[in-house]
Every structure is written in C-alpha cells, then in structure tokens.
C-alpha cells in the first residue's frame, strides 16, 4: 500500500503543478485550527492519560505544580501552580508553597488541598502512568501520610529515599502531574472512582484553555480561560480536527482552511514546504534508534570489535535517504532537549579505521553475525544498510526478521547477537533512559532484569551503574546535568550500544502563525503563546 500510495501522491503532485493556483481562504485571527491524528485519546483524566494527543490536550487545560516554559526549555522546570519549594535536610521531603490568587475554570480557588488531592488520586487510582509517581515510594496505602497538606497554601511530599529534586520535579511536569479541581471532581464521584469516569470526558483544570467539547475520533475544541493567572491567551478558540490522511492535511493547509498540520509525511512536507505562505517547523521527539551487541557473544564482547562496528554504520547515508525528515543523527542515550543532553557525534562511517580495529582485535578476516530485526519498514531498511557496510569489513550479516513479539522475546531472553531497537522515554527526566541504558546492578541470568536494556545485552557495568544511581540522588540540577554528560561520553566509548538516530517531527504551519512550540522530546504542544 505504501509504494502505491506514494505513486498516487506523485500523480497528485503533478496535478497540482498542472492546474491553476489555488484560491485561498484564511481562518479568522482569533481562531486556531489544527489538523492532527487524535484517535489515540481514550481519556482526558490526567491520572490515566498516557498518549501523545492526550498529553497535548492536557498540557493546555491542566496547570501543574512545575512546568516547562515553551519560550525556553533549557531553563528546565519553572514554577507554575507552586510558587516556590524547599527541600528538607535529608533530601526526602519537598514542601511546596502554592501560588496565590489562581482560579480553576470553575471559579474555585487553587489551593494546597487540590494539589494533595490530585497527587494522592493519581497514586491511588494506579492507572498506567502511575509508576511515574510510585517510583518514589508512594503507594495507595501510604499516600495519606507521604502527601500531606500543611495549611491552606502549603503541602509536602515525602519520598522513600533521597532523590535528586530535579528528578522528582521533572516527573511532576508529566501529564500525571496535572492538578485537578478537587471540589468539582469529588462532586462527580461514582462508586469510589474518584471521578475517574467523569474526567474521562470532562476536564477540571486551571490551565490557559478550557475544554468546550470532545468528539472522539472527530475533534476537540478549547476556549481561552479569561482568568488564567498568566493572562488570557490571544487565540480565543482552538479547534483540533482528526484528519487521518497526510495528503488531506496538506490540502487543507495549502487551502488555508487550517493553520497547522501535525502529521505530514516527508513527501507532503517537501510539497507543502515549497508553497508561499507555508513554513515547516522541525522539532525533536524522544524516540531513539539504536543497535546493541550481546556481550555473551565471543566476538561482540571484544571492545575493539564493538568500536569497529560503530565505525561501520552509515549514519549520514541513512539520515539523508530513507530516514530523511523523520530521524536525525544522534549518538547519546539522552534525547536532545533532555536535562544533561550532549550533542557529541564521535562516530561516522570509516571502513579503514574499522578494519584496523578488527585487526587489533584479532578478527581481521571477519566473522558471521546475525541481526534480529522486527518487521517494520524503517528498521528493516536500517538492518539492510548495516548488512552492506558491515560486509565491507568482511563481517557477514544474516538478517532475522520476525514479528515484534518474537523479536522482543529473543532480545529479552538475551539470545540475540545484534538487535536493531527503538526506545522512547517514559517521563521527562534523564533517569528514564539512564536507568535502562546505563544501569544494570546484577548481570546474572537469574536477575531477569528484562526491563533494563543493559541487562538484555548482558553488559555488566558496575562503575557506571553506581554513577547512574548517584546522578539520581544529586540535589543540584547543574551538577546532575554534568554527571549525565560524563556518563554519556563514557557510554559512547564503551557501551555495546550504538545509538544512531533521534526522531524528528515536521509540522506544516501557515506563515502568519507565530509562537508554536510542539514540545520537543520532553512535553506536549503549547497553544497559549501562539499569535496570528
């Protein structure tokens, strides 16, 4: 279907050139119309929502205790509903002081009681994203003691061990950190569900926009909240329509019936981007593509061989051909825009150097190796590219293509030699990736730490595991960032992971739309700074 589709789109493109210029109709200045795939929204409850489109919606409707400022992500989390906070001596208790004079959409004031209720609620409901909070030791049983109101405008949370303040606060910027209007939610409680059912289709937040309606798989619309503490947004209405097809989104954008197209494929980006009045915004996403080498394998466990293979990958060739517009070269385990990100790219295709390294390792005649890859087009293409470049250094590759489940099964059982993988971070803190790429306290088969990528590749890294653990507890944000930078540089040199690419997402926007930020790898889209 894909080849067929691109062929048809090619024909469509010719048709555009052949006919007269389009008549153009613009949307009004106070309304923003967006085409996006929103069929993954199943609930709007911040305690349960864990999908991209749901995160976008939530970010604009629910304020959080701390949040990322779309004007500058590199500053990290900034005060939002929490005006300030202090950390106890032992580093376990954080006391938040709430911002005064903030209102919910209902008109109720935002107080410490709402924050306590929201966090306890998320822990007690224990839905999919709850691990983001429960990893700090909160549980349904202890939530009443560990998340405690002190007075009207102050409350505290107490973790089970010392964690870096930035780790805890980064996690509170996730969708699950959205603060709900406790009075409104409690009035809709049914059978002790803490309003979970009601919040699926309704909202009770204090963010810059409030929900007008949501029609599943069809559209949602928001209207600006006049009493938003940061000032009512300029755009009064935001309408997001579910448009499945990239070509349809492009047509609507070119025609001026929408302002923003979120899901253009590379062909449509190239086509629409060349039109007057349309610009393309590229933004980084969290997903990484990597290959990893099982350290149980006699050849692959030689450090020189690992290094050689990292020089046998045609990073640039792949980026500029079949991954064009979808992935960009990135060689460290933290996606860019994360705290502690580095942009070092030490490796590039260098066959001579790789051959020299293989000689040093005593395998200059090459060897046979199997690459496990799941049946997804871009991953197979990556594996085929590896097959070509590895062959230039006499490494003969057999591809084993399997279903996602089967391939993952081999990987988790540590039975692969080389695996082509993708990894997406779960929450906006460096530990989400460091804790799996650079952490493996027990490398034995019996440990069965199948959630850890380092364990899956049988890579014992006692020193680095300690460093990763220390970084989780470092209270100072700058020092912590420096620690991750150091870990990643070491990881680039020594690890059996060759991280290759980071996902990018391209958005088509009408040129009169200013101030769009789709959230990078760490958060969702922000509608409120947008102007036309």
């Amino acid at each position: 279907m894909n080849t067929f589709k691109s062929l048809m789109l090619g024909v469509a493109a010719v048709a555009i050139v052949a006919t007269a210029p389009a008549t153009f109709a613009a949307t009004p200045d106070n309304i923003l119309v967006i085409a996006n795939r929103i069929d993954d929204i199943t609930t709007m409850d911040p305690a349960q929502s864990f999908e991209f489109a749901g995160g976008d919606l939530s970010r604009n409707v629910y304020s959080k205790l701390v949040n990322f400022d779309p004007a500058d992500f590199s500053k990290g989390y900034q005060p939002d509903l929490a005006e300030s906070w202090t950390v106890s001596e032992d580093g376990k208790t954080i006391t938040f002081k709430m911002r005064a004079g903030v209102k919910f959409h209902s008109g109720n004031p935002v107080t410490a009681a709402d924050a306590v209720y929201s966090l306890q609620r998320a822990v007690k409901l224990n839905k999919t994203p709850a691990f983001i909070l429960t990893q700090f030791g909160f549980s349904a049983e202890n939530a009443d003691q560990t998340i405690k109101q002190i007075d009207d405008m102050t409350f505290s949370i107490t973790t089970d061990a010392k964690y870096a303040t930035s780790f805890v606060l980064n996690c509170l910027t996730a969708t699950i950190g959205g603060i709900v209007d406790s009075k409104t939610v409690m009035s809709h409680e049914k059978d002790g569900d803490m309003g979970n059912d009601w919040l699926k289709t309704n909202t009770a937040g204090s963010g810059p926009y409030k929900l007008v309606n949501w029609k599943p798989n069809e559209s949602y619309s928001l209207t600006s909240f006049a009493d938003y503490y940061g000032g009512a947004p300029k755009i009064e209405r935001v309408i997001v329509r579910h448009i499945q097809e990239s070509a349809t989104q492009r047509l609507l954008l070119e025609k001026g019936d929408i302002d923003i197209a979120r899901n253009l494929n590379p062909q449509d980006v190239a086509g629409a981007g060349s039109k007057d009045g349309i610009s393309i915004l590229s933004d980084l996403r969290g997903r990484l593509m990597y290959i990893s080498m099982n350290q149980k394998d006699p050849n692959l466990s030689k450090p020189k061989v690992v290094e050689a293979l990292k020089y046998l990958i045609d990073y640039k060739g792949m980026q500029d051909s079949f991954l064009k517009g979808q992935y960009t070269i990135h060689q460290a385990f933290l996606p860019r825009t994360y705290l502690g990100e580095i942009d070092d790219k030490p490796y590039s295709l260098n066959i001579e150097k790789a051959k020299a390294l293989l000689k040093e390792a005593g395998v200059e005649d090459g060897f046979d190796v199997k690459i496990n890859v799941r049946e997804a087009q871009e991953r197979i293409e990556i594996a085929q590219s590896l097959q070509n470049t590895f062959a230039k250094a006499n490494i003969k590759v057999t591809l084993e293509v399997g279903t996602g489940k089967a391939t993952l099964g081999v990987y988790r059982a540590r039975e692969h030699q080389i695996y082509v993988g993708a990894w997406g971070p779960d929450y906006p803190d460096p530990n989400t990736n460091a804790g799996t790429f650079a952490f493996n306290p027990d490398n034995s088969d019996e440990a069965k730490a199948t959630g850890l990528l380092a364990w899956r590749n049988s890579w014992a890294l006692p020193e680095m595991s300690k460093a990763t653990k220390a970084a989780v507890q470092e209270g100072d944000r700058e020092k912590r960032a420096a620690m991750y930078e150091a870990i990643q540089r070491e990881h680039q040199k020594r690890s059996p992971f060759a991280i290759m690419f980071q996902k990018i997402e391209q958005t088509g926007i009408r040129s009169n739309v200013k101030g769009l930020n789709t959230g990078g790898a760490i958060t969702g889209v922000s509608y409120w700074p947008i102007t036309k």
């Binding site: 007269a20 199943t42 029609k215 329509r241 025609k255």
Partner: protein, 332 residues
C-alpha cells in the same frame, strides 16, 4: 407474506446474527475482565468482576443475557471513546446514512437511465461509453479518485467544501435532531448551514454514487436486454406503440422488481460505511468507527456496529420484499 411471518423471519435472522457476533466476541483472544479491572488487579477483584460479568454461567445463559442487553440497547461501553457504544452509534450512523442516501439517490437517478439507454442502443457507441464509464467506476481506487477530486474541485477550483461534514465555523451551530446535517439544517431553517453541508457532501456522495451507478447501470442493462427480447415487446411494437412507451413503460415496468433488489443491496452496501471514503474525507461515519475499533480490539464497539449493520441489511431486505408486493402484480 403476512405481517406475522415477516416478524418471525426478522426475529430468526436477528437471533442468528446476534448468536454469531456473540460467538465471535467470545472466541476472540481478548479478556473482557482484564480490560475492566486492569492488569494490576488482585485475584479476588478479578474473580469478582468475572462473576459480575456473568462469565461463570453456561454459555447459553450468557447468550440470553447478551440478547437481553441488546434488546435494551445496551452494548456496553467503548474502550476507545469511553462512552456507551449506543451513544457512539447514534452519533456516527446518521453521518453514514446521510452520505449513503445521497449517494444512492444520485446513483439511481443516473444509473437506471444509463442502463436502459445502453440496452436500447446495444452495440452502438453509447453502449460502449456506458460500459467504459461503469468499468472505470468499478476499478478506480477510491483513495486515488477521492484525493484527485478534492485536489481539483476543492483545492484548485474552490467549487466545493473540503474534508469533513461542514466548514469549521458552521460546526455546532444548529441543534442535532436526526444527526443528518442536511435535514437538521432545514429543520432549523438555516440555509447557510444547509448549502455548506451540500458543498461538503457532494463529492464523497458523488464518489459513492459512481460506484453504485456502475453496478446499477450494468444490472439494469442486462435486465432490460432480457425483457426487450420477449414476445410481448414485439407485440407492443406491432400494436404501434411508440418506442418510448415500449421501453420506459413496458420493459422497464417489468424490470422494476429485480432492480429493487439490486438497488437495496447496493444501498445496504453503502450503509455499512466505506472506510476509505470516510478516511479521505474525514467523514465520521460507521465504517471508520468499526475499523478503528477493530484495530484496537474494542470488542463492544465492534459487536455493536456489527449488529447495526446487520439490522440495516435485514430491514432493507424486508423493505424490498414489501416493495415487490406493491410492484409485482402476481404477488397481489
């Protein structure tokens, strides 16, 4: 066929349909309990929900429960939309109904005369053109033709509305009564919304019409050819009746009955919802709804949608049976 017998046929057909959908729902490798209680639930919570769902009862009893739920219009809640499936169906089905009805009306208005003319002028250039038109209708991928149609008529010429049922600024202006915007806008007396809806529906409905036209015109042609060979036609001609009367009154008159079945089936086919058309035109209909539900294993929604589609088929069949009775002198 008396009323009692019709009711009996409908009941048996529906029970059969419900039984099959029920069995499909049961053999699907999806645990309905797990999707309610979540993966972290304890054994006792799980067992409790298992009992509440009646899964510990014999299959036949479960089926009776299911029947009772369906009769009350309770299809459960959709996992995807977090709303009762019935509400969802009430929302999406009118969109498809509206599209299919307009499509069928256009298809019949053009398809029947085209078929008749092709039969009368058998072997001439008119017949050949009619055949080519029909063949193209059969074989063009809707994905492509829909997109090109949008590009030309919406993108370039600006004659029609774009994807969706209305321009964004007309959405939610008129109250929902039937869910069919063409009718609702007239009820509300809002002609602006009506014409906007017309400009949006015309292309997707035209596309669907093209498909049913292709089928209807080919069938009409072959029915007509069969009739035109009959002796009563020769008799009519010998009698000195005008060619017009022979073709349109005598021949077409006798073709009506089988044609009704063809039209009803093609209408029912459109009412199932055309996934591709609905995708290209962002038309929130039942085809898109069932497909999306199927892809995410949302069984309540799939079963509910299947029952509705089945019901539509049964109703249209009965309706065409009743029309038979009306049109066919022998069954009087």
């Amino acid at each position: 066929m008396g009323f009692g017998r019709i009711a009996f046929t409908v009941a048996i057909t529906m029970i059969g349909l419900l039984f099959i959908t029920f069995i499909i729902g049961r053999v699907m490798p999806i645990d309905p309990v797990l999707s309610i209680v979540g993966e972290s639930a304890s054994k006792s919570t799980y067992d409790e929900a298992y009992r509440q769902l009646g899964l510990d009862k014999p299959v036949i009893v479960q089926f009776l429960y299911f029947l009772w739920d369906v009769v009350r219009g309770d299809f459960g809640e959709s996992l995807l939309t977090a709303r009762p499936v019935l509400d969802d169906l009430i929302r999406v089905f009118p969109a498809t109904l509206e599209l299919a009805t307009v499509g069928t009306i256009i298809g019949v208005t053009l398809g029947v005369p085209l078929g008749v003319i092709a039969a009368v002028k058998q072997g001439t250039w008119i017949d050949h053109i009619a055949r080519v038109v029909a063949l193209i209708g059969y074989s063009m991928p809707v994905f492509w033709i829909g997109l090109i149609g949008l590009l030309v008529f919406y993108g370039k010429l600006g004659w029609i509305g774009g994807p969706g049922r209305l321009d964004i600024f007309y959405v939610d202006i008129i109250p929902t009564v039937t869910g069919m915007i063409l009718i609702d806008s007239l009820l509300a007396g809002d002609t602006d919304v009506f014409w906007n809806a017309v400009s949006h529906i015309i292309l997707p409905a035209g596309l669907l019409a093209y498909y049913s036209l292709a089928y209807i015109s080919r069938m009409t042609r072959s029915f007509m050819l069969e009739q035109l060979d009959q002796e009563y036609i020769t008799t009519a001609r010998v009698k000195g009746l005008s060619e017009h009367a022979v073709v349109w009154r005598h021949a077409l008159g006798n073709v009506k009955v089988p044609l009704i079945t063809v039209i009803a089936l093609s209408y029912a086919g459109l009412l199932e919802g055309s996934v591709l058309t609905e995708t290209i035109f962002s038309w929130p209909g039942i085809g898109l709804y069932i497909t999306t539900a199927l892809l995410s294993a949302d069984m309540n929604a799939v079963l509910g949608g299947t029952v509705v589609v089945g019901l539509v088929f049964v109703c249209l069949n009965i309706f065409s049976d009743l029309l038979y009775k009306y049109f066919d002198p022998r069954s009087k």
